[in-house]
């Protein structure tokens, strides 16, 4: 059993984008703050901090989840992918190119979260309908684009995947 009293720090070891991190944090430390403040991975954005906006979405053991609705201590021993992990070897993820080409972003605040959700979505859907893409995107708020470009970008990558 893991146990920590109030204000007592616990050691959290976690693999993020293939690299091992070990940091001491209080159990109340949100995963989103852990990634940004303790690990220095500021690609994950923090918007509403109560699970509505989707900006902080990361992948924990493959599943896209809100990092503001998890404590860092709960991610101990997990494999996490953040937006930094999408372009590890210097080349952009096809979704990143497509968002750029389809005008799927303006200010870019929501983009990291959308990328993480869309990456999981495309692994599970070989030939998604527009409706399915929109349903997945319902978990993300974008105040710039009106979503049209984002839907187009995801559909574009899906089609490229299928044609390959």
């Amino acid at each position: 059993m893991i146990q920590a009293a109030k204000h007592e720090k616990v050691l959290v070891r976690v693999r993020i984008n293939g690299k091992l991190y070990a940091e001491e944090v209080e159990p109340r430390r949100l995963l989103s703050d852990f990634l940004r403040e303790d690990c220095g991975l500021t690609g994950t954005h923090v918007g509403c901090e109560h699970g509505v906006c989707g900006a902080c979405t990361v992948r924990v053991n493959g599943a896209a989840v809100r990092s503001c609705l998890m404590f860092a201590v709960q991610a101990a021993d997990a494999e996490i992918t953040t937006v930094e992990g999408l372009s590890l070897h210097g080349s952009r993820h096809p979704l990143q190119d497509a968002l750029s080409e389809c005008h799927g972003l303006q200010c870019g605040f929501c983009t990291p979260g959308i990328l993480m959700s869309a990456a999981e979505f495309l692994e599970e859907h070989q030939d998604p309908t527009t409706e399915q893409i929109e349903e997945m995107l319902s978990g993300h708020l974008c105040r710039c684009t009106g979503y049209k470009g984002i839907v187009e970008a995801i559909a574009k990558v899906a089609k490229e995947q299928k044609d390959r």
Partner: protein
């Protein structure tokens, strides 16, 4: 926004968990998916003394079909329920209801048991399990109880579970479930809290006469409710537009919704009628299809 400090425990067995609950008494709180609890803590609407994290209890993360009973572990994720071919086959009402819950990103973490115990009056899981006549298995260090979901809800966010107890399993008797089913709901935007939701299960004979059924409505009272009187007018009858109108009217009259900034009382009453009718019609049509024919009303 940061939650206030708490004492944290992450037990690795059910036995440890139940003992912790006993030791912490009124001040202990379980966290499973945390998709309702963590927002409350982040916004400091509440603070906790002891947080007992049950995410290490892998033994409670299961979906099993045993002798006509669908058994869902307390820690089963909503996403697992959504993807389960077993659930789709034996309790398709659940498969239809789950996509309405929040978003895929919250369903990846949120649990079935957590939603039932949280008992939001507009939530999909409590409503579906009520319609399915499920039973909750509640355990403490001292005893194990079986509580029919029908008797589980007390009022807003309050259920028949003591601070020292936890929900470990949900059981649904699937052999006797009616073949027609429907889950419908209305919300302002996809993934928002439902204003009104309705779940219906129906069986018909070869003539299209309704022989059995259950109807449940959510969002119209402090707890999800069974609309028995509306179902009673349907039993022994074939569905006609007039009968459907009557059932919808009765269902709505028996609800007592409160108005809030999302919808007025009058609007919720209107929705209760409309969505009850939609649920009944859809379940009826599916029941006829299962029989392989029959005329549609």
């Amino acid at each position: 926004m940061k939650p206030a400090s708490f004492n944290y425990y992450r037990p690795s067995t059910l036995e440890e968990t139940l003992q912790l609950l006993l030791d912490c008494g009124d001040e202990g709180k379980l966290i499973a998916g945390g998709q309702s609890l963590i927002p409350i803590l982040n916004m400091r609407l509440s603070s906790l003394e002891h947080v007992i994290d049950i995410n290490g209890l892998r033994e409670l993360d299961f979906i099993r079909l045993e002798e006509g009973i669908l058994k869902i572990g307390g820690l089963c994720r909503q996403r697992s329920l959504e993807k389960s071919p077993t659930v789709k086959e034996v309790a398709p009402l659940l498969s239809e209801a789950v996509p309405f819950i929040g978003h895929v990103q919250t369903r990846n973490r949120g649990t079935v048991g957590g939603s039932l115990v949280h008992a939001d009056p507009t939530a999909e899981i409590p409503l579906s399990l009520l319609a399915l006549d499920a039973t909750a298995i509640i355990q403490s260090a001292e005893e194990t109880r079986e509580v029919p979901v029908q008797d589980f809800f007390i009022t807003y966010l309050t259920t028949d579970i003591a601070p020292t107890e936890m929900l470990t399993e949900i059981q649904i008797p699937v052999d006797t479930l009616p073949k027609g089913y429907a889950f419908v709901e209305f919300s302002r935007r996809h993934g928002d809290f439902a204003l009104v939701a309705a779940a219906c299960l129906l069986d018909t004979d070869e003539d299209g006469t309704i022989t059995a059924g259950r109807l449940a409505i959510g969002g119209v009272d402090a707890v999800p409710m069974i609309a028995q009187e509306a179902m009673d007018v349907l039993l022994g009858e074939k569905l006609t537009d007039a009968l459907l109108e009557e059932a919808g009217q009765i269902a709505a009259e028996n609800t007592d919704p409160e108005g809030d900034l999302h919808a007025s009382r009058e609007y919720r009453l209107h929705l209760a009628k409309v969505f009850t009718k939609r649920a009944i019609r859809k379940a009826y049509e599916r029941s006829l299809q299962k029989l392989g024919g029959g005329t549609q009303p």
